[in-house]
Amino acid sequence: MPGRVRIPATKYPVERLKLPNGLRVVLNPDRSAPVIGVAVVYDVGIRSEPEGRTGFAHLFEHLMFQGSQNLEKLAHFRYVQGSGGTFNGSTHLDYTDYFETLPANALERALFLEADRMRGPRLTEENLRNQCDVVKEEIRVNVLNRPYGGFPWLKLPPVMFDTYPNAHDGYGSFEDLESATVADAEDFFRKYYAAGNATLSVSGDFDVEKATRLIEAHFGDVPKRPAPKRPNFDEPDLAAERRDAYPDPHAPLPAYASAWRVPDPIADFEGYLPYVVLAEVLTDGDASRLVRRLIQQDRSATSVGGYIGFMGEPFEVRNPTALLLQAHLPPGGDVDKVMRVVDEECERLATDGLEDGELQRIQSRIATHLLRECDAVLGRALRMAVLELQRGDASVMNDLPKLIGEVTAEQVVAAASTLRPARRATIEVEVASR
């Protein structure tokens, strides 16, 4: 194959420390731009929220922005943005993150803000009711009022999984959200938002020694509470195919998504990585197998996608998780037919193997995506915080392009051979008659 290039690596320095209260800290100095990214990640997510409280992890994330020990409501937003920065938070299956990107002169301010809410948010009835309303509007805008809302990330887990942590709706039912109480929030904070259950990471333009001193000063007196023991959320692999369908009142085109369980991303990283590559072999770009077959050749799909994890973050998810393939079909399209063709293509890959140069070009493209995500200070801060939290080693970030590059053709072929109909869970979006 002409034009082959070596997969490059990053050499971002990574300093790690742990405070006496258990907070794990990762520092990634890089002085190439006068900005910093600060992230605090807590080891709690959608899978840990209590039964009868669907959507609670996300609602609680909102409450972490409503004031804390020394900060009134609205203060966090104003101080970050009034320092020239941006902020946000997000709730995932296995973790919840809080982060800021700021000009480098605001480092201490960001540390102060994060430490203050780690000591405790201001949990009031008024804030709870207000943010419950805001979250309901978020669900309306992202799920209820648009086509394909929650597809497939909220719709497929209940087909694939049997236990509440893995199967339930992470955005939550309005009924559950409305019944949430301040006492629930206090319990949730006490149990999961312990310093020992979190990592703090700082990336960008700062001096390590000075940042370390500031971190010790601001976070050192956050009380030590024991980190909860993380439950094992594993479920057995599917023994028989599962399939369900639902009508979407807004959807003009049929769509479907299938998922297959993959190896444990943490315990069996080596066995897991080939699936990351496989998803791209099947669906990344005009030269990928399913785009060629379904879109260009058969014209039986109008778009296809493939990725790992219901939230599409292969290096930020724990077991159990899955490889997903999804497609939107032209009007009147036949989902069964598309699924049969996908089976055929997986079978062909498993039998005939990869084409010349196919693996290398996919690995190169994945490397570009990984490197690009690292270019932003916040991308680095978040990735390192989660890697440290889930794998105990933030420096894996530098190794990811190389690890992807070491996946072999045999491993990808073997992974393809596991995408059999009997192990598959499928959800179909039906076009509502109008």
């Binding site: 034009g3 190439s32 959807a251 005009d286 290398q360």
Partner: protein, 452 residues
């Protein structure tokens, strides 16, 4: 600009009081190299070696292009040349970690992509082949036009798209900006021959700008461009649009979307371009009103009242004119109260000056946003390319920063009165009309609009 003194290293850290900021860094612009090639293409290259990648943005003026043909052209530009088919093009780019895609708006066609830095010559070679020799094969054109038609069908079920389309029709009557999405029928009718003709007439280097940012040697990268793209020739008088008409306020336009569980409010107000003397103060007024989270509008209708998830206002620039556009999706039951609060916050800023600390906060935010926006290869490439489309370079930021630094409360108040007054707003509400009309009518005249 406010600056506070850096904390001394011996200072005791307070755990109860907000730490001050260290001294602000001066806005440092990256060094960029620029060359206009003999074919008229302007190339701007910036070395930012943070990660071993290169970002590529090719911006080609595309005004007055047939809407459906322009759309299909952008989706089939990479579908084949005499020596490469669609799969070979994609595979060759991937082999160097690369990818390229094209998109259009009423002003320009943009080819955007990236690759491992070592793959730049290969990416440029493929790009050069496509620009000079794209064939628009029949099979690929038929496939892509069907896909675009499918996508338009999906767009038409999305409230965000429908509300925006209604607003554009409302504020740009008779102007080409009024309709920016082609009809399904027009897309179906596009022929490969029309695309080849359009390509010959409009995919030309003269007036186009290519921006490269990344782990590159700037001069050598421009040499690579010269090698790969010097055979791409052609040019003519650039097409342009008449200036956009002034926004006419008029009645509230209510567009029915039966069963909608939210109302999508869109308002447009007058605005000016980046180089207008009012622009820095207008940007600050926009931020104070609704341009960032810590704005009056967000604090009111989200954080106080819980009417909405994410209200936002921004100054939108197009070559033929600018507008200040407000967007919020609110619960159906609170449509009228949310609109009232929106007008209230516009009116409050238009009639009374902002507080000093509000202005400082907005100023810090916009300056910080510039730093953050330039801190990645992709951010820098996008900024340089967009500015180039308006005849500006990154040094525009020097004057803009100075304008921001000196904008006073009085200036912001003056600009708010002239641009943000609710009496100047054109208002569109897309929602379940039967449920919201009677209460919205309490606020002013309403007329029913159509959804496309």
């Amino acid at each position: 600009m406010t600056t506070t003194v850096a904390p001394k290293s011996t200072r005791r850290v307070s755990l109860t009081e907000l730490p001050g900021l260290e001294a602000n860094r001066r806005l440092a612009l990256p060094r960029s190299s620029e060359r206009t090639l003999s074919n008229g293409l302007t190339v701007i290259a910036i070395r930012r070696p943070a990660v071993p990648l290169v970002e590529v943005r090719l911006r080609i003026p595309f005004a007055k292009t047939h809407l459906a043909r322009g759309d299909v052209l952008s989706q089939t530009l990479f579908s084949g040349t005499p020596t490469r088919d669609t799969v070979q093009i994609a595979a060759e780019l991937q082999a160097v970690g690369g990818g390229l895609g094209a998109s259009t708006d009423p002003d320009r066609l943009l080819v955007a992509g990236n690759a491992l830095a070592a793959g730049l010559p290969r990416l440029l070679e493929v790009l050069g082949d496509v620009l000079q020799n794209a064939t628009y094969p029949k099979t690929e054109v038929v496939t892509e036009r069907e896909r675009i038609a499918d996508r338009i069908q999906v767009l038409r079920t999305q409230p965000g798209h429908l509300a925006r389309a209604a607003l554009l029709r409302r504020i740009y009557p008779g102007h080409p900006y009024a309709v920016q999405t082609p009809t399904v029928a027009a897309v179906h009718a596009v022929k490969p021959g029309e695309l080849r003709k359009l390509h010959g007439e409009r995919i030309l280097p003269s007036g186009a700008t290519l921006v490269l940012v990344g782990d590159i040697n700037a001069e050598r990268a421009i040499d690579d461009v010269e090698t790969a793209l010097s055979g791409w020739v052609g040019g003519g008088e650039p097409a342009s649009y008449p200036a956009t008409p002034a926004i006419k306020p008029g009645p509230i336009e209510l567009v029915d979307r039966p069963g909608s569980v939210q109302s999508s409010m869109r308002l447009a107000l007058p605005a000016v371009g980046r180089t207008h003397e009012d622009f820095p103060a207008l940007q600050l007024a926009n931020l104070i009103f609704g341009g960032y989270f810590s704005s009056r509008w967000t604090e009111n209708i989200r954080e106080d009242k819980g009417y909405t998830y994410g209200p936002h206002s921004s100054v939108e620039h197009s070559i033929a004119g600018s507008a200040l556009v407000l967007a919020a999706d609110v619960a159906t039951d609170v449509t009228a109260p949310a609109l009232l609060e929106t007008w209230y916050e516009l009116g409050r800023l238009a009639t009374t000056p902002p507080k000093a600390d509000e202005l400082e906060q907005a100023r810090q935010y916009v300056v910080g946003s510039l730093l953050l926006g330039m801190s990645t290869q992709a951010g820098l490439a996008g900024l340089a390319s967009t500015y180039a489309g308006y005849g500006l370079r990154l040094d525009y930021l020097i004057g803009y920063s100075a304008g921001l630094a000196k904008a006073s409360r009085e200036q912001v108040a003056d600009v708010a009165a002239r641009y943000l007054a609710p009496a100047k707003a054109a208002t569109v509400v897309l929602g379940d009309a039967d449920r919201v009309e009677s209460s919205v009518r309490l606020l002013g005249p309403v007329e029913r609009g159509s959804s496309e």
